[in-house]
Symmetry: C2
Subunit: 248 residues, 2 copies
DNA sequence: TATAGTTGTCTATATCAATAGACAAATTTC
DNA sequence: GAAATTTGTCTATTGATATAGACAACTATA
């Protein structure tokens, strides 16, 4: 790889400094720029990307703001360790077990909950009538104090009365479902896409505007094949990658 | 759902018109804006997103350029049918079988090929020594005349001598591997991420600058577990979604 | 045919983004 | 201590971005 000389596009709606900030992030993720080491000097980066030094400085300023880089006058600009989390995704993946070994502290925070009529999409996924009551949970996944996911989850309101309370108490979907007699469940289907983060995601995931999120839309079912949960999760692409293992 | 009022961020490196173009694309994908129907008038969109009408016009102009919308003076602006391709991904997925039923014509075009020493990443994936010769193929997947993927693939040069010729001839990885005695293979692991498209992707996938690509990095193995192929594929997020089915 | 609704074009203005050059301030190296 | 290297600050200029308002051109409908 090492996508060198893969140049920069002008007048496209994305400013040069943001594009270069993205390139530097890629460079860190791919190992081109080692962690805890100095970045090439600004003049070298400007030459490398074919832009003015001040443009590089804007990119660096944004990454310093994000906490990815640290600039020291006279010495250089340094890469703070910020490895991407690798988030396994598969039939039996749960949030807490997924990141085992990569982080020390992780849980799901319940941001808000509400009951609403099912949209067509939700109704079809859960196998209930359109307009039937569903419980919607807005949650944020956290690992080591950093937000790593932002999800919207729907349950059949009739079958899972009070699951929002269980969720707030336990901080775990799996534990909450157990209270309703669901001891095991499988991921039935997942659809993956990507887009720019919207204002909601930006705030919840502590991202800079323009950031990209990976989006998964999944249906979980019991071992009998009964759909119990429909969820859309957003992951910050700069901090998380999704891994599909063979044993899916 | 229906992320209404999820507002717009200013001075972040991404211009307002590009953010609004993204929102309109989302709206089409989510069904907020029906295909073949008229978009709300420019003034309504401007109010909805809290920007000037001219800014909305810039966004629409970009999407007209991309072929997503069609504006007609006096009548309105219309959504051209442009559904996302749903690309299945799993242990036994091949490009040609994957899109069956969704498109009529599909094949892989070989853009270029070369022999090079294996980087650390490639060597580890293929289980060969770093620096050993590998064949690199640059390909583009096409469906119905539209580019839907852009991939870089590596093979052990010793084991797959001349695979680039087979690839150019057959337009299929599966058929090419058959010539080397590989009648079946499995996807061993896949890592998923997303980023802004670089200049290469933009040209090959016919994207507008600022577009997002889904990135998969995969290792394919024979039934015996021998790694034979390492590939990084880029999919345009606005045209393709990846689907993981239960039967993975 | 008249009117309302919608897209297209034009002018003007203010701010952001990018380039350019010069020099200050801090650190490292000789 | 002097020189070289690197980040920080300042001024100036150009082009892209965003807002504002007015009006033309076209379409559909009453």
């Amino acid at each position: 790889m090492s996508g060198l000389a893969s140049s920069i596009e002008r007048r496209n709606g994305v400013s040069l400094w943001r594009q270069i900030a993205d390139k530097i992030l890629q460079g860190i993720a791919s190992g081109d720029f080692a962690e805890n080491a100095a970045l090439p000097p600004e003049i070298a980066l400007a030459e490398r990307y074919g832009v003015n030094r001040h443009t590089v400085r804007s990119a660096i300023a944004a990454l310093v703001q994000e906490g990815v880089l640290k600039a020291e006058q006279g010495r250089g600009t340094f890469v703070l360790s910020r490895k991407r989390l690798s988030y396994p995704i598969g039939a039996r993946t749960r949030f807490s077990t997924g990141l085992q070994g990569q982080t020390s502290e992780r849980h799901i925070a319940l941001l808000s909950s509400s009951t609403e009529p099912a949209s067509r999409r939700v109704a079809e996924a859960l196998g209930i009538a359109k307009g039937a009551a569903v419980i919607r949970l807005e949650t944020r996944g956290e690992a080591d104090g950093h937000a790593v996911s932002r999800a919207t989850t729907w349950f059949d309101a009739k079958r899972f009365v009070g699951i929002e309370a269980a969720m707030a108490e336990t901080g775990s979907i799996t534990a909450s479902l157990k209270r309703f007699g669901v001891n095991d469940y499988l991921r039935h289907s997942t659809v993956l896409s990507a887009r720019h983060a919207d204002a909601d995601d930006l705030a919840a995931l502590d991202l800079q505007p323009g950031a990209i999120v990976l989006v998964t839309v999944a249906v979980n079912v019991t071992l009998d094949g009964e759909p119990i949960q429909f969820a859309e999760s957003r992951f910050p692409a700069e901090r998380v990658e999704l891994r599909l293992s063979a044993g899916y």
